[in-house]
């Protein structure tokens, strides 16, 4: 717990991305399994417990401190977990004799701790921890742990250790579970790349490039394909024998917010990874982005939202089909595969994104300007 708490504290005060990366690299290199895996889970936002409520923290503190002194202290510090962490006085003879719990010990214990035993266990931990570990522990058990590093940054740090790219980590990530021992073994060259064949994992996509930012004279129009960019969000649909997922471009799993899309994929029963634009669609009309925003803002949609703002997909690309990796194929070949997949299965609420014929890049610029005045996003 102490190493993890030290890392958290340092990350919380460091604005610099480079320093955060160095701190993460150091931690991932020095900390043992499975502790570092749970720390990684904390950064990915998948380590959260609701073992204790603020009232319980307060009650524990009152066992050791006068209520008046606690109130004066809380007024000054302003944060309950921090006040308790700083004010806690270990029972005489406790500190130093028994080592502080490791992060994994805390995680494993909390996973199957009967509610009635929570206060006793936490009191024991507080007695063996130092102030900064007590703070991390209290934030963890109340489900309010904030880590000053994003999942993407943590993955970048891991990639740096093994001279990989963050996308290499991303590719296997969703097939893995905390404490990610297979991932660390691979990073450290002790095991092969984790096999994510059957898991619905995220595959880093090709991104659209705005025309304005590219030196068009250096490109040959016949090498390029143009499609409309819709006013939705770019998503990756992953469907395997193990389940269906909807990922954003940054590999965030937003499936829970779009059960209508998951249901369509489940009905298809096709083992496939698709790239497309998530939109709210009424018949053939695309609803304004604000409607999609409402759906995105909810963890799970209400019945009326599902009825009034149904989601749909404009398909751009197919990356995997029946376990076959299509990503190294030329785009036109993939497009043919996408078209034939679409014709074969005829999925509801999924429409192919239209290819725009052009001979000169100038044609596209004209089309784009016309479209902007008609209200399609550029």
């Amino acid at each position: 717990m102490i190493e993890f708490a030290t890392l958290l504290e340092r990350l919380a005060f460091t604005p610099s991305r480079t320093m955060k990366l160095a701190l993460l690299k150091e931690y991932f290199t020095m900390a043992p399994d499975p502790d570092r895996g749970y720390a990684l889970a904390a950064m990915a936002g998948s380590l959260s417990f609701a073992a204790a409520k603020p009232a319980m923290l307060r009650a524990l503190a009152m066992e050791r401190i006068d209520p008046e002194l606690f109130a004066l202290s809380y007024d000054y510090v302003g944060d309950l977990a921090e006040t308790v962490a700083l004010i806690w006085r270990p029972e005489a003879g406790q500190s130093g004799d028994v080592p502080a719990p490791s992060l994994s010990e805390v995680v494993h214990t909390l996973e199957r701790l009967p509610k009635a035993e929570v206060p006793d266990v936490i009191r024991g931990w507080l007695d063996t921890c130092d102030a900064s570990s007590r703070y991390a522990l209290l934030k963890l058990i109340t489900g309010s742990l904030r880590v000053g590093a994003s999942a993407r940054l943590a993955k970048t740090a891991l990639a740096n250790i093994a001279s990989l790219s963050p996308d290499d980590i991303e590719e296997v990530w969703h097939g893995l579970e905390p404490p990610y021992e297979a991932l660390f073994a691979w990073i450290e060259g002790k095991a092969p790349k984790p096999d994510a064949k059957d898991a619905p994992v995220f595959c880093p996509p090709m991104l659209a490039q705005p025309l304005e930012n590219i030196d068009l004279t250096a490109l040959n129009p016949t090498d390029w394909r143009a499609e409309w960019k819709w006013d939705g969000i770019r998503v990756q649909l992953v469907s395997t024998a193990q389940g269906e997922r909807v990922y954003t471009r940054t590999a965030e799993d937003i499936g829970k917010a779009f059960p209508d899309i998951l249901a369509i994929m489940q009905d298809l029963g096709s083992n496939v990874v698709l790239d497309g634009e998530l939109l709210i669609v009424h018949g053939t009309t695309v609803a304004p982005f604000a409607d999609l925003q409402q759906r995105l803002n909810r963890k799970a949609p209400t019945a009326s939202m599902l009825r009034d703002m149904p989601a749909g997909i404009r398909l751009y690309d197919i990356l995997f089909e029946d376990g076959e990796d299509l990503r190294s194929l030329p785009f036109d070949t993939r497009r043919q595969r996408l078209e034939s997949w679409h014709a074969r299965l005829n999925p509801s609420r999924m429409i192919l994104s239209e290819l725009i014929p052009f001979t000169h890049f100038g044609d596209l610029a004209k089309l784009r300007d016309a479209a902007r005045s008609e209200g399609i996003e550029g």
């Binding site: 340092r10 005060f13 320093m19 160095a22 006068d66 202290s73 000054y76």
Partner: protein
Amino acid sequence: MDWLELKPEGLFCAPGAFYIDPLQPVAHAVITHGHSDHARPNHAHVTATPETLAIMHLRMGEGRAGHTRRPLHYGQVISVGDVQLWLAPAGHVLGSAQVVMEYRGQRAVVSGDYKRTPDPTCAPFEVVPCDLFVTEATFGLPVFRLPNPAHEIGKLLHDVRLFPDRTHVVGCYALGKCQRLIALLRNAGYHDPLWLHGALLPMCRLYESLGIPLGELRSATVAQKAEMRGGIVLAPPSAIADRWARRLPDPVVCLASGWMHVRQRAKARGVELPLVISDHADWDALLGTCRATGAQEIWVTHGREDALIYAMGKMQLHGRALRLIGYEDEDEDVPEGDPA
């Protein structure tokens, strides 16, 4: 205790006709230590330890540090009027003293600022049994149970090793904190030259001349930028977030202060590496010291009196808040040069 009274000028010992750390110029001032909220200029006569007199002389210049001066070594007893007066070490900064007064069989001790943690740059605090103890309360809340300074120095040195291309600039108060930080670094085995902001150097030189070795110190102001890369630079707290610090090669902003114990305080100062190092007694030390003096009456000068006086009440001690306007903690956000 009716022979110690609070006057507009400060705490007055009537049978000895002297003030302790007065806020305005007086005829006779007994000064606990050189911080500028305790040692103010232009008193007619000043009694203090030789080190405190030297510090006052350096900070105020000839003439302003008392027209006449009486150096008093720790433990040396003198009579002032009807009062027996002597000074005992307070462990706060070099030369810092508690003022001990005896009159008609009663003893009063004014601690000034003090700490109980060992400090290689000054004599350790001495408990003087007394009837009335006047304490500070800078960290008078139970959340201030401060860590071992060696641990904090370890944090700094670890960071210096982890980021060898960056320059760690540590904010520290010019009198006491700066020299203690240097001594702690040396004790931890760090013997590289330390780079010092111009405002810190004269006091370090004075400490060295008074027998506190500080190792190799160099001026950061005249140094080439590249020389300081990977090193440790010490500067006044007001300079670390300033243009001055930004000209250093890739600075990491650190601050050594007891206030760094609370996250909000560290965040508000824009500190990247907070170092919890204080020259004041923490909560446990405040209560422990008040108890150890055996005093039945405790007066609280500056800081958070309410919690401390409440806690004393629970210990059957009589506490009283002396609201002396003008005393501050030297680590508070006071611009350098102002009374702090």
